[in-house]
């Protein structure tokens, strides 16, 4: 392959999973000898050195180059991507169905609808479709992509500084993800109530993520109050650095995810890097990402989740087994594995010349 492999993304922001994965892909591509840059429409001021303005891409690409467009939300960039004189690859990061976010934010709903429309436009014209999971790959094929490959995402573990979690004694449940109804943070509060009411009165739940609708966090807080567990609930007080997030992973005893729609769920892999036992609800790509690296549940019974979270938190055979499983599973997201999958997928279009 002679050309460069560039990536185009609507937003590059600190603390955003897609942005972290884009930068990891760039590093992997460079590691394998490709010229690779990131172009973005909106760039977080902390990440200005990491990306070029999106408008420059058109003049800097040739027909030998590959441009990967990351689609997770609607953007005017989609139309500009479609007109680029390059080999077009769409990386479908998955667009949450609008129904799953009902009642949260009309703005978000609008961008998601737009994202679905972009998917319908771009999937048939892309030479190659990439997806982080088979779950997303199916949607990409259904939207009209003829050639689709699965390439898992990779978190930026260096900035999190992973180390084996060292729980302080009491169970500390952790979930990292945007505050949105489909992520079901409310269910995790029920699990906290069940855990405190049955096994450990001092158990805690730490919820980390950005909130598009402040009222949603207030509603969760009021819900925890009603369930009598507000003292055990830790909600975000503002933006958090990767280092602070790493501290939370290191202090947690178990990672829990009750989300009913995830295209991949990068925090699951981050949790595995901290040797955290992982419990997830079998929806979207969660079951695929966890695979044999943790517990995947088919139902949302707070008492069952609380019992498992308790067993995963206390020192014993269950915790050891889940910690080992998490560590083993992490190998599937190593630099070599992800780079090989990405390069092999891209070679499909470059070998067509």
């Amino acid at each position: 392959m002679t050309g460069a492999v560039h990536q185009l993304v609507p937003v590059l922001a600190q603390g955003d999973g897609v942005s972290a994965a884009v930068l990891r892909f760039r590093d992997l591509l460079r590691w394998r000898g490709y010229r690779s840059d990131v172009y973005a429409d909106l760039v977080d001021r902390h990440m200005r050195r990491q990306a070029q303005p999106a408008w420059k891409l058109r003049s800097e690409t040739t027909t030998d180059d590959v441009v990967i467009y990351h689609l997770s939300i609607g953007s005017p960039l989609a139309a500009e991507f479609a007109a680029l004189p390059a080999k077009l690859v769409i990386f479908y990061q998955n667009v949450t169905p609008v129904e799953s976010t009902a009642g949260s934010s009309p703005l978000l709903a609008h961008r998601l609808r737009w994202g679905r429309a972009d998917l319908a436009t771009l999937a048939p014209i892309a030479e190659l479709g990439l997806a982080a999971s088979e779950f997303s790959a199916r949607e990409l094929r259904a939207a009209g992509a003829s050639d689709v490959a699965v390439v898992p995402l990779q978190p930026d573990l260096k900035s999190l500084r992973p180390r084996a979690s060292s729980p302080a004694g009491r169970p500390v449940l952790l979930f990292v993800g945007r505050f949105a109804p489909h992520k079901h943070q409310d269910f995790l509060i029920r699990v906290l109530a069940a855990l405190r009411g049955t096994r450990s009165a001092d158990a805690a739940l730490v919820l980390v993520g950005s909130a598009e609708v402040p009222e949603y966090i207030q509603a969760l807080s009021a819900f925890a109050e009603r369930l009598g567990v507000i003292a055990g609930l830790q909600l975000p007080r503002g933006p958090m650095s990767d280092r602070e997030l790493g501290e939370l992973y290191a202090r947690a005893t178990v990672f829990v995810c009750a989300s009913d729609h995830e295209g991949f769920c990068l925090p699951l892999v981050e949790a595995m890097a901290f040797s955290l036992p992982v419990i997830g609800y079998n929806a979207g790509a969660v079951g695929e990402t966890i695979a044999d690296g943790g517990v995947v549940l088919d139902d949302l019974d707070p008492l069952l989740w609380a019992e498992l979270a308790w067993q995963a938190s206390i020192q014993g055979t269950v915790r050891s087994r889940l910690v080992r499983a998490a560590r083993r599973r992490l190998d599937a997201f190593s630099d070599a594995v992800v780079a090989d999958k990405l390069i092999n997928a891209l070679s499909r279009i470059t070998s067509r010349d």
Binding site: D41, L42, R45, R48, P76, A102, G103, S104, S105, P106, L107, A109, H110, R111, P181, D186, I189, R190, A193, A194, G197, T198, E212, V213, P214, E215, Y216, Q218, A219, F223, R226, L227, G228, N282, G287, I290, A291, D292, G294, V295, V296, L297, D298, D301, P302, L303, L304, E307, L308, Q311, V318, R321, L322, A325
Partner: protein, 131 residues
């Protein structure tokens, strides 16, 4: 694998048995069980007034009539609406498209302003550092 999906669910089955046993033995506080059933309502929030929420213009509003001939009136209105739909529907579609375009343009301008603000802040910071 401890996933129920692949039927290797010894860990989950054991936990399920513990929960079922405790429930059967009445070991859980009934007040806790009642609280766990509490309904969580997703707030609609102030963002319901974001312009994107108003982009789509429906071609019809809910029909109602409170008079003695309520049902007849509603049926008549429905007929009139259907007869005029060939005229009204394209207008609402065009209006929705225009709303969408103008909202996108506003958001584009918003992003442009954000970008310029960021550049101005950075330039001011660098000026301060140099002086």
């Amino acid at each position: 694998m401890t996933s129920e999906v692949d039927n290797d669910d010894s860990l989950v089955a054991a936990a399920r048995a513990v929960v079922a046993g405790s429930l059967a033995a009445g070991e859980y506080d009934p007040e806790l069980l009642r609280r766990l059933d509490s309904k969580f309502t997703v707030p609609t929030g102030g963002l319901a007034t974001a312009p994107e929420a108003l982009v789509h213009v429906p071609s019809g509003r809910p029909l109602h009539s409170s008079g003695a001939l309520g049902a007849v009136t509603v049926a008549s209105k429905r007929v009139v609406r259907r007869l005029l739909s060939w005229y009204v529907h394209p207008i609402t579609v065009d209006q929705s498209r225009f709303n969408e375009a103008i909202t996108m343009e506003l958001r584009r301008l918003e992003r442009r302003v954000e970008r310029i603000e960021t550049q101005v802040t950075a330039a001011a910071e660098s000026d301060r550092e140099q002086s």
